[in-house]
């Protein structure tokens, strides 16, 4: 299992498009993927879950991946966050 903490750096926060991109990327891997924000923990492969997190600019998220390809999953998702989802 890998854990990694990131901060949301795109100004619009995690709206529909980034949420869609995260789920799309995560679903490619076999590992479980969860996102934690404060007390809320959701399934990172669920668009409903990711969108209900309503993560805004500046909020802190913990990424948790567990499975055979966990490393690749975390890497790809972190890159997505770092690239600000191609927005700015």
């Amino acid at each position: 299992m890998i854990r990694k903490t990131i901060v949301i750096v795109n100004t619009l926060g995690m709206h529909a498009r980034p949420a869609t991109m995260i789920v799309k990327a995560a679903t490619k891997y076999r590992s479980d993927f969860r996102l934690i924000k404060g007390d809320t923990e959701i399934n990172g492969k669920s668009i409903m879950g990711v969108m209900t997190l309503a993560a805004e600019f500046g909020s802190e998220l913990e990424l948790v991946a567990d499975g055979v390809d966990e490393e690749f999953l975390i890497n790809e998702i972190s890159e997505l966050f770092a690239s600000k989802f191609g927005e700015e």
Partner: protein
């Protein structure tokens, strides 16, 4: 025997056996399920999700132009494929014995509420996505419920509380004799379709499902709005004869399908259809009309809480244009009074909407809305058979302004590298006396003119035809109206523009010789009236009619 007067929705006589359909009860019944139905319900869940995903895929493919819409639809697909969604629904069905519809409703309404309550406006707007997906799924599932139409056959008269447009089409395919509803109005989409299919129908019969019993013999007299339950021998005989007479007449007219509409002396009069909703297209093609002389686009705007997107309009226009090609399709830009659009446009209350901001005026007041429609029309003209028509023109100025907007749209599309056809014919409706009187300058700017007789009569004679007290003043063949039409036709022909008539006057047999005598080139009527009008055209002799009109109305130049 019992006679009840209702609303005359679609004319014609139907004699048949009542088949009652109770839609609502079926839905309520499905709120919960039995233990042994769980598996079937889960299977239904899987198939419906797969089907809706497939539908979305098709939509995505069609939307090759719009990136934004594509992204939204991709998100919708993801919502359907969401593992949590499937877990939640499965739980509701297996643990709580919810029916699938009920489970979907429950799941999405709680999500919609959750998003609505979020502080951030962007996130709260997401509730629309979930509502949309829920609507899609439910629409799909409810459609499957419609097997209650299975019992209908060619002797049936369908009895139900209310009917949707697609249900009218479906019942028509079962060859029913007619239908009768409790709720409904003359101008509902369902009624429009019934008329264009010549399907007799009466509406507005209260408690219809309790006063009529299954398999009772009933008669519908659609032109009178009359419903007769278990008629006596005498009435039945009378109506059978009447029905036979109508049938003979109809069969005679049907034979005209493959004959071109020409006057006796050989002048070709194009006979086209007026349509209000895309569903009428089938009749237009079936009756082999010469195209669509008036495609009203109001259905896209009325009764909605948001404006239709360019792509939505484009898809509809394209489908109609391609199905009719190479025959012409004349799309009229939005023609409603501001009162009907108050929900989506910011329009002030008007004391007199008939003389207010309507027709082209509304378009010129709301340029972005107008541009969206023009762009969609320009893009839909891939087969070069689409024409644009502007309603409520009162002088050439509006035509010029509207044409400027068309040019702006063309430039924009070109810059955005979006495919469209720059060659498009432009026409104006002549329905205000001032437009008829200045039709020379209007014709100068147009490729064709179309006389909207309903409004032209109303504005010339200052009479509201829906007002019973003054209805007798509404005379389509009033000399003033005829003179305005003659002026329009002469002016248009001088400038090389064709003239059509698209008001109701064009579908009344007694007026056809007058219109032809005046020199019109095209008639556009409701699909259900095509053969009736064609029959009159074939009987007409142009030189004779022209002379008669000239003498009667003193039209010598």
């Amino acid at each position: 025997m019992k006679k009840i007067i209702g609303l005359a929705v679609s004319s014609g006589i139907a004699i048949g056996y009542a088949k009652l359909v109770r839609k609502e009860k079926l839905l309520i019944k499905r709120k919960t399920i039995q233990n042994h139905e769980i598996e079937e319900e889960l299977l239904r869940f899987e198939t419906s999700v797969n089907q809706v995903v497939k539908d979305i895929d098709i939509l995505i493919e069609d939307l090759s132009h719009s990136k934004v819409n594509k992204e939204i639809l991709t998100t919708h697909k993801m919502i359907l494929h969401d593992p949590e969604f499937s877990i939640k629904i499965t739980k509701l069905i297996s643990n709580e014995l919810y029916s699938l519809e009920n489970a979907i409703n429950e799941h999405f309404s709680s999500l919609v509420e959750l998003f609505n309550n979020m502080n951030n406006e962007y996130f709260s707007l997401r509730s629309q996505d979930y509502q949309d997906v829920a609507d899609r799924l439910l629409a799909h599932l409810l459609k499957q419920e419609k097997d209650y139409f299975e019992k209908l056959d060619e002797n049936s008269i369908l009895i139900l509380e209310n009917i949707t447009p697609s249900e009218v089409t479906k019942a028509f395919e079962k060859k029913i004799k007619g239908f009768c509803t409790e709720k409904g109005s003359k101008n509902s989409h369902s009624s429009i379709i019934a008329r264009s299919m010549n399907l007799p129908s009466v509406s507005g019969i209260s408690k219809i499902l309790s006063i009529i019993k299954e398999d009772q013999l009933i008669i519908i007299d659609g032109s009178k709005g009359l419903l007769i339950i278990t008629p006596d021998e005498k009435t039945l005989k009378e109506y059978r004869e009447l029905f036979q007479k109508e049938e003979d007449e109809k069969n005679k007219l049907q034979k005209l399908k493959n004959i071109e509409s020409r006057t006796k002396d050989g002048k070709r009069i194009l006979l086209m259809c007026n349509i209000e909703i895309p569903e009428e297209l089938e009749q237009v093609l079936k009756y082999k009309s010469d195209g669509i002389g008036l495609f009203r686009t109001e259905f896209l705007f009325i009764g909605r809480s948001e404006l239709p997107y360019e792509n939505e309009q484009y898809e509809i226009y394209k489908k109609i244009a391609e199905s009719c090609a190479p025959k012409p399709v004349i799309i009229r830009t939005i023609d409603v009074g501001g009162d009907k659009l108050s929900k989506i446009l910011n329009i002030e209350h008007e004391e007199n909407p008939n003389l207010g901001c309507r027709g082209i005026r509304i378009s010129l007041e709301n340029i972005p809305v107008f541009k969206t429609q023009i762009r969609a029309i320009l893009r839909a003209n891939s087969k070069a058979n689409v024409k644009i028509m502007f309603p409520m023109i009162s002088s050439v100025d509006e035509v010029k302004k509207a044409k400027e907007i068309i040019e702006i749209c063309k430039n924009e599309l070109e810059k955005e590298k979006i495919t469209f056809n720059p060659e498009i014919e432009i026409g104006a409706m002549i329905e205000i006396p001032s437009a008829a009187l200045t039709s020379d300058s209007i014709a100068e700017e147009c490729d064709f003119l179309s006389i909207g007789t309903n409004d032209l009569i109303q504005y010339t004679l200052a009479v509201d035809r829906d007002n019973q007290t003054v209805a007798s003043y509404y005379q389509p063949n009033h000399p003033a109206v005829i003179k305005l039409m003659k002026t329009t036709i002469i002016n248009a022909h001088r400038k090389g523009a064709k003239v059509a008539i698209c008001g109701e006057m064009a579908s009344e047999p007694e007026f056809i010789p007058i219109l032809i005598g005046l020199g019109i080139d095209e008639l556009s009527v409701s699909p259900g009236k095509i053969f009736l009008v064609k029959n009159e055209i074939l009987k007409c002799d142009l030189p004779k009619s022209a002379k008669e009109v000239e003498t009667k109305y003193n039209l010598k130049e």
